[in-house]
């Protein structure tokens, strides 16, 4: 389990990554664990790929198709990142 500080830090790093692609800036400002990339931030499917590629680069991890398909919310992304980091 991530402690609260780490969680906040991770959400902030994700916020920086999604920020160039988020169409809904209010939803971006109030980003939280339950924020949905497509429905809340209005990121399209093409830019969602860029989010995944930027996450790979920022955390130095490789995301496969199965993991990518799960990464639709902040919470799901944090779980994938945490799992991939623990495999290293």
């Amino acid at each position: 389990m991530l402690n609260l500080m780490l969680k906040e830090d991770l959400i902030n790093r994700l916020k920086t990554i999604v920020s160039p692609y988020a169409q809904n800036k209010e939803a971006l400002d109030s980003i939280h664990e339950e924020t949905d990339f497509i429905n809340d931030l209005k990121i399209n499917s093409a830019n969602l790929v860029d989010v995944i590629l930027d996450v790979e680069e920022a955390f130095d991890i490789v995301i496969d198709n199965d993991a990518m398909e799960k990464m639709l919310t902040v919470k799901a992304s944090m779980e994938v990142i945490e799992a991939k980091l623990s495999e290293k």
Partner: protein, 148 residues
């Protein structure tokens, strides 16, 4: 898929087909050419009495040759059941020279990445004199159907 099969798989026809020839297509890019048909309806209005190929049509030509042909090739390579289709999702292009009716242009694309069905390429178009007409980047999603 070979060049001929890719051309046959293109979902365009006159007056919106802007590929005459696909001279090379491989894992990392595509090269092809098109000669702008002076009879195209668009020249009657762009511009009045002074026909010049619209920038959006130059983008379309770069996309059909550089992005769509390459996307269909890469989708075939991934052993997809159905023929791949490509939806243009973004374009960032600089225009350097005008293209007049009847001019032949050559488009060269280079794959930057093809991951999670998104194809991102750099593209450039040159005229018969070898001068760069326009260049930039194009992206599209490679799917099995046309409307996403």
């Amino acid at each position: 898929m070979n060049q001929q099969e890719i051309l046959e798989a293109l979902p365009y026809s006159h007056p919106f087909l802007f590929v005459d020839e696909l001279t090379a297509v491989h894992e990392n890019g595509a090269t092809g050419s098109y000669t702008f048909n002076p009879e195209l309806e668009i020249y009657k209005g762009h511009f009045k009495d002074k026909p010049v190929t619209p920038g959006v049509i130059l983008i379309e030509t770069m996309a059909q040759i550089g992005l769509v042909c390459l996307g269909i090739y890469l989708a075939g390579d991934a052993e997809e059941q159905e023929t791949g289709q490509v939806m243009l999702t973004s374009a960032a292009i600089d225009f350097l020279k005008p293209v007049f009716p009847g001019e032949k242009v050559t488009v060269v694309s280079k794959k930057v990445y093809f991951r999670f069905k998104k194809l991102h390429c750099t593209v450039s178009m040159t005229n018969a004199a070898g001068e760069t007409v326009c260049n930039g980047t194009l992206s599209g999603m490679v799917t099995s159907k046309l409307n996403g």
